[in-house]
Amino acid sequence: MGDIRLIEVKEEILADNTKLAEEVRERLRKTKTMLLNLMSSPGSGKTSLILRTAEGLKGSLRLGVIEADIDSTVDAEKVAARGIPAIQLRTGGFCHLDATMVTQGIDAMAVNEFDLVIIENVGNLVCPAEFDTGAHKNVMILSVPEGDDKPLKYPLMFSICDLLLVNKIDYLSLSDFDMAALRGRVLALNPRITILEVSCKTGAGIEGWIDWLKGEVATFKGLK
């Protein structure tokens, strides 16, 4: 047995991913394609929101979708069935997308033909928050049945998002969900976040979401 030596390493573990994510953002800035990372728990309405969004943007913005799913193509089929250009990435057991997987997605689609590409991340409030996908904007959905206490349980997710959509507000009358408490908790974590209340089922509030998207894309493209 030889002597034990101490070596200084001083390296950030996710540095590779962060660097690649920066490259993705830069590449899409050149093609003027805004990349939006959509995150939420399973069943909170990501796919329904994408369908509503495609409807709302029809004729104004060209929308593409990158679907991530652990091991199925169910969501991509639903989206593609409506004529929305979609790429399916199978994460093969991983619970999130990272910048490498997103790069594969944008390599597979003609990104310059889109104004906006939405990544439907894997349904999960934990892991997707840890990995920079290269998106320009991060958006999350919290649905009313999940409860107003989620910011206390998953603070990182709420602190990295630019916008929070509170979905399934048609359930509000049936539940003890406290919207004011939710807003207080979320804003304490992230004072810059925008919070919008919607129902993908009834269509309530969807107009506000579409307006936000159009505004963000215009700013991104330097039109505003």
Binding site: M1, G2, D3, I4, R5, L6, I7, E8, V9, K10, E11, E12, I13, L14, D16, N17, P42, I70, D71, G93, F94, C95, H96, D98, N124, V126, C127, E130, F131, P151, L152, P155, L156, F158, S159, G184, R185, V186, L187, A188, L189, N190, P191
Partner: protein, 123 residues
């Protein structure tokens, strides 16, 4: 449920750690990596026991096989957006931040989500 709905992001993180460790081991002509000192932010949900298990699995047959991971948890630091005081926060109370100096609610996250390899012990 297909039985796959579990957290698996330890794996890519551990792959990155191994890659960096092996690079430094080679640069320093080490024969064996004995221990690795990591700093992991308290906002990370990675559990020490699983970090070690995944590492053991990935490092089999490499210079780092059998290395012990020594994990230091670094605090969650928040800066008040009213008076700029920096203070430590707890994971469980992140949604109810109150500045200890001025009482302002909420703040900006300064640190607490890092994964950093500080140093390693080699032979």
């Amino acid at each position: 449920m297909k039985g796959k709905d579990i957290s698996m992001h330890e794996l890519p993180i551990m792959e990155s750690i191994l890659k960096i460790v092996l690079k430094h081991a080679k640069m320093n002509r080490a024969r064996k990596v004995m221990a690795i000192h990591l700093q992991v932010g308290k906002l990370s949900d990675l559990e020490d026991e699983w970090i070690q298990r995944y590492f053991d699995y990935l490092s089999k047959g490499t210079l780092a096989e059998g290395a012990k991971l020594k994990i230091e948890r670094t605090p969650i630091m928040v800066q008040c957006h009213a008076c700029s005081t920096s203070y430590e926060a707890e994971m469980a109370r992140m949604g109810e931040l109150v500045c200890p100096t001025c009482g302002e609610k909420g703040g900006t996250l300064l640190s607490g989500r890092e994964y950093f390899i500080k140093e390693m012990e080699v032979q």
